[in-house]
Amino acid sequence: MPELLHTLPVTRIVTTAAALDGASVPEDALVLRTAPDEALVIHAEAADPDAITIDDAHAIVVADAGWSGGWIPTAAADTFLDGNCSWARPIDRPAFAQGMVAHLPVKLWFEAERTLFVVPHVSAHELTHRLREGGIA
């Protein structure tokens, strides 16, 4: 059975909101802004904190292996979220949202054809189990 979730190549940023607004990240990276002053940068390949520039001498910019994620086709993701997500999901695509999904802290990146589920690595086993319970193979 293929793994649903994999370790993501992430650089984690903690800085000021203004500095994060002006941060420069690789073009092929996906940036999930999890808080005004915090972001997960998901690189196309390996995590690369040096590829990120931020105008904040105190910014924390570190590679972070603590995140797992997996892409799920939109229809299957929506079916799963209908039963396991009690909050209103964004309608626009692409869009980012985060909250409790199947009683786990999940970050979601919605694209037209697929949705990226991201969880702390320590919860990946549980989310995988709950995704499978929800009919996602």
Partner: protein
Amino acid sequence: MGGGARKVAPDPTSTNRCRTLGAVSDDTFDFAGRDITFAPGDSALLALTRHGIHPAGGGPLCFAGDCPNCLCTVDGISYVRACQTPAEVGVRIEPHPTNGEPPLPAWDTEAKTVAAIHRRADVVVIGGGESGQAARQQAADAGRIVELLDTNDGAEAIAVYPGPIVVARTADGMVNIECDDIVVATGAAEIQPIVPGSRLAGLWTPRAAAHVQAAGIDLGLTVAVGDVSDDAAATVVAPGELVRFEGEERLAAVITMVDGAEVRTEADNAIVGLGIHPRTGLARMANFMDVEVVGDAALEPTVPTCPSSGIACPCSNVTVEQLDDIYERGFTHMELLKRGTLAGTGTCQGSVCTPYLRSFLQDRGQELQPAFTFRPMAKQLTMNEIAAGSHLPALARTSLDSVHRDLGAQMDRMGGWWRPWTYGDTDAEYAAVRERVSLGDVSTLGKMILTGPDAEASLQRLFPTDVSTIKPGRSRYVLMLNERGYVMDDGMIAREHDGTFFLTFTSGGASMAEMWIRDWSASWGHDIRILNQTMSLGAINVTGPLAKELLERATDDDLPPFLGHCNITVAGVPCKVLRVSFTGELSFELHHPVDRSVELWTALMDLGADLGIQPHAIEALFRLRLEKGHIIVGIDTDYDSTPRRLQHEWAVNMKKGDFIGRTAIERTNRLALDKRLVGFRTEGRAPFEGAVVWSGSDYAGWVTSAAFSPTIGAGVALGWLEAVDGEFPASVTIDGLDAEIVSPHFYDPEGARPRA
């Protein structure tokens, strides 16, 4: 459904004196072992009525889901209303016992999971009657997305929660609809009679009678009492005001009062019209939200005549006499009557008794009071329905979880994590730490980076230690206090050479600590950056007298001195190494990227094979740290544990500036010490954890942690010793053992071994 229509002869044991049963088919369901035929579209109650059966034996029937008088066990599920249950082939219905409650269902591990469905709408309209349909149309015309919930269409609203979220039971599962607006169009219930004899069979509300008659059922000699609509056909009208019903099990006569004299009207059935009571339960449940109530649900309720006797609340079997009794004791409010008698807390949630409770209080001179608070659920749910969409609390797994399981560890839940309790031989694990070298998975420790221009200033105010004296490359044990000076957590602060700080906290304490730091720093206006790395860094504790020898095989870099730390590569894995001991032995915590944990663990186990390396789990760790006298916050501490009571005053620097808890500590330090955490030593065995400490026959505390120490050769325990009559006892007994009160530091009290 099939077969031609035919008439069924009345059951001779009928409690329902109906003369014509109406057309039914050959299809049947089971009621108490009898085959019950029914007509297409019948509810189970209507079908039973055709056969002259009252499923509960007696009590007025409403056919609207408002009362508890047709409750049955349907397909093994109790407290189901027969009037809300479609008559279907194969359904099995059992009446509830006339005395007592229906039996609990058998444990069914194969029970089908009820799905949770989450939807979004602009408007939810509850109730599909005329006013509900109008509200739906109005909202739809305004371009709004509308969900209409109608019990008759299989969508029964059962709760309204803040959000607002409306929860409905449907055939597909429990639907949770988040919405902006709610319209309650649930109509009104008919008030049922509460007089002597109102538990007889043969009593109908006007709508129920009309419904039954429309189904072709002839109710025979039918007497109308009160205000009965034209839809329900009565043979005669009883004059005057209702006094009581008479009969044996079922109705024989209606007694009314006319000009001070009782009038007796013989009857097979009675249709009793006493007014309406709006179904406002769901609106009251949402009383703090903006809910629109329309149609009959918005009508003023009828206040019926105060009952003089009889059962006022049929669900909880509360009599008028019991209401009187509780009223005389000062329960003079609707909410108090409910609490004092349980009236209104049963199956119908006050639908029957609420009007009478209001009139009862009004009759006794109280202002007419509104109905009492209504809380979820509005209707009974099965445990499966309640559990829809629920999951067991998720436990985090360290990156070494599979390693522990492969080693055959007995896993246990601690602090929100799965952790190895033992690998099967705790004594051997313990010995490996004390005598050789061992690995422990401490990935669950809270881990945090704190930096920014005001990082040190924040830490100075957050912790009672003088952070300014922690030199780069050094670390210090710290307590985290709340404003009352009580210990909330403990951990380490390590200062990096670049001015940032690395903090550790207890397992499970990181989230709270992060919020604590963020909130206070924000309130002080401090410019800091915090990164919680608890989930991102694994941590392995390398501990034992041979720990250094093992690590020197794994790295060419220098290892830190006691309470020092450094960033080095160990077995090819980048690690932040903290030299800090919880076991009482020479120890190094290796904090590393979580995806390298297995690699690091495996390499160290391989390198230490000839040293007799063996991993240790939590049971051994607890024993080791107990011998050393290291507390575990949450186990050895209480909600009022000050550093002084814990004998941790050494961790508080009162010469520094202000810090959280300082004022409280200054104040409590002026008070006599009333309890303190001490060590207890017992011979032969350890007391059990939680055991009471006795000073003679006086309570003198309790044991927080205990184990037999093979190294000490005695039972060792930490526990609270409380002053008795202002004095700390000198001798105590615990769990039947004489216990010596000693220093908590049983093992290596000078601390030489971690510094080796």
